[in-house]
Amino acid sequence: MKKYVLKRVITAIFTLLAITLILFILMQLMPGSPFNDEKLNESQKAALYAKYGLDKPIVIQFFHYVVNMFKGDLGVSYKISKNTPITQLIASRLPISIGVGFAAVFIGAIIGLLLGLLAAFKRDTAWDTFATVISVIGVSVPSYVFALALSYQFGFKLDWFPMLYSAKDVVRSSVLPSVSLSMFTMASIARFTRAEMIEVLGSDYMLLAESKGLSGNKLVFSHALRNALIPIITVLAPLVVDLMTGSLVVEKIFSIPGVGSLLVNAIQSNDYNVVIALSFIYSAMYIGIMLVVDILYGVIDPRIRVAKEGD
């Protein structure tokens, strides 16, 4: 087991390094630079390139970047917030994005689970169709439209929740963005729960449990649900990271000072360092979560570990 974990961690680190290199090369291919402003002349541009070391060959830039990264320095922003260390920019924003993201996953998972169970128990009835349609509608309308509609109805018309994020009222002002974000999770979880439950309900051990005289709630909760839930956890984890990418637009609409809106602005203004740093963080989180899930799953279900080690 230890060997397996170690192997996975080492590959993860190399994967991350490769991703950083690719990002670096992609940035070089990107047309325009952070300093393509009509008000700048050639000599000023050269001075700025020299100041940030962008005039050096890419290999050297990459080397410097990786060395600094290990020291915990991700460079400074060129444009979005001039000369501000990126670590400082991210430190205050990441917790906000994670908070909203977690809330969204939480809401989505609960509602999705309920819808999925409803659909599985009432399979092929009107309830099933209803649950499917509800869960799919969530992903049928783009999240920004959903966000705007929510904010118009519940923020503007009814005035239940604030329309804009506010650091003074985090919980209430996170409701609308979290709900708009939770739709995708809800739909995925509902679908997955339904499929898993149907499989579990049809399995031999359920038949056995039933034949032993178990019935009703006891049967559902202590046998069916428990076995169906384990795989759902593995679906949930990567959804968290997907959500943070999905939050780009919602953050912009609700003026949330998170990392998603930062990434969009960075891409649009060619702020190389910020794009690379944020992409790196996303990748690291994604790979990290996948790693944890894999290892946890190996602990829960030894068959998988054997299969993976056999790869």
Binding site: I19, L23, I137, V139, V145, G202, Y282, D311
Partner: protein, 351 residues
């Protein structure tokens, strides 16, 4: 060994008549036992039994029909502007007498709501915009359907290409295993680790914006899921007897992968394609919203929604048609995919 030495000369030689069946008809040649196991027939039958899937399929067909014929059903074109006739509310002949779709709209201004009918104010008795006109005086009906057309083309093309790439990648990776698999899986992990938005945006910035670029960008981000499924299926099937049999018979690797294993997993692949079409439509809509979608004046459902977004509270009729078409399209593809998956999955069959 005594049994082996029997008299050849005296042995009975079978004649054809010995094997003649009684009451020979065409039906008798069909092995009914085997026919009942015809996989595809049963899949189709199961699919038809699932009402929601059938409704989904019908909607997909209806929307596709309008996507290709809708834009030529009236005299307007998707790019033809008429600034005189901008922001006109929906008006449909005949139905207008019911009071619905007669060209009136309620504009909520900060100083109260007012009801106006610009068709009368501008003296246009014979002008009809079925879904209204946008802020350039373009017909929303035409634009919605030509947008649906663009979205469908992009999504289907991206899904099919990513199916081909992802499937081959996954099958090869799974079949060969060992070093090949290790290298391919590391590459996949790297490709999957970079946030999609970053890849897509960079691609769209590097290449000339347009339909082909969007298709390539979508394809590049979606093939990973497909290859995972193909690989998993391959790992399950490659140890089975039929693979061993065809290898013993001297079949080459490529023959085994694409002619022996592929037909057995095509079902789950098709299901995955059906799921990735709505994902592609959605990603395109997202790209439109951040300003990287299809270049104007062409439109997709996503770009229409982004365009209507700013007049959401002023002229809501401009955003509603593309949203409804998009939602229906997404819903239908999802229902069809769900239906297909259930129809194909033997585990769910017994229930």
């Amino acid at each position: 060994m005594a049994e082996a030495t029997f008299d050849k000369a005296n042995s009975y030689v079978p004649v054809e008549a010995d094997f003649r069946l009684k009451g020979k008809t065409a039906d008798d040649f069909v092995d009914t036992n085997f026919a009942s196991q015809n996989f595809w027939k049963e899949v189709i039958a199961r699919f038809w039994r699932k009402k929601s899937a059938v409704i989904g399929l019908v909607f997909v067909l209806i929307i596709s029909f309008f996507a290709f014929l809708g834009p030529v059903m009236n005299e307007y074109t998707y790019s033809g502007q008429n600034l005189e006739n901008k922001n006109l509310a929906p008006r449909i002949p005949i139905i207008e007498y019911t009071g619905l779709f007669d060209g009136h709209e309620n504009i909520k201004t900060t100083s109260g709501t007012k009801t106006v009918n610009y068709y009368f104010e501008k003296k246009l008795p014979d002008t009809f915009y079925w879904f209204g006109s946008d802020n350039f005086g373009r017909d929303i009906w035409t634009r919605t359907w030509s947008g649906a057309q663009v979205s469908l083309i992009i999504a289907v093309a991206a899904a099919i290409i990513d199916m081909i790439i992802g499937m081959s990648y996954g099958l090869i990776s799974g079949y060969f295993g060992g070093k090949v698999d290790m290298v391919l899986q590391r590459i996949l992990e790297i490709a999957n680790g970079i946030p999609r938005l970053v890849i897509v945006t960079l691609l769209l910035l590097v290449f000339k914006p347009g339909m082909i670029t969007i298709i390539i960008a979508l394809m590049l981000t979606e093939w990973v899921g497909m290859s995972r499924i193909a690989r998993a299926e391959m790992l399950k099937l490659k140890e089975q007897e039929f693979v061993l049999a065809s290898r013993t018979l001297g079949a080459g690797n490529m023959h085994i992968i694409f002619s022996e294993v592929l037909p057995n997993i095509i079902g789950s692949i098709i299901t995955q394609v059906m799921f990735s079409i709505p994902t592609a439509i959605f990603t395109e809509a997202f790209l439109s919203f951040v300003g990287l979608g299809i270049p104007v004046p062409r439109c997709s459902l996503g770009s229409l929604i982004s365009e209507g977004f700013n007049s959401f509270t002023t002229h809501p009729y401009q955003i509603i048609p593309p949203i409804i078409v998009m939602a229906l399209l997404m819903l239908s593809f999802n229902l069809v995919a769900d239906g297909l998956r259930e129809a194909l999955d033997p585990k769910l069959k017994e229930m």
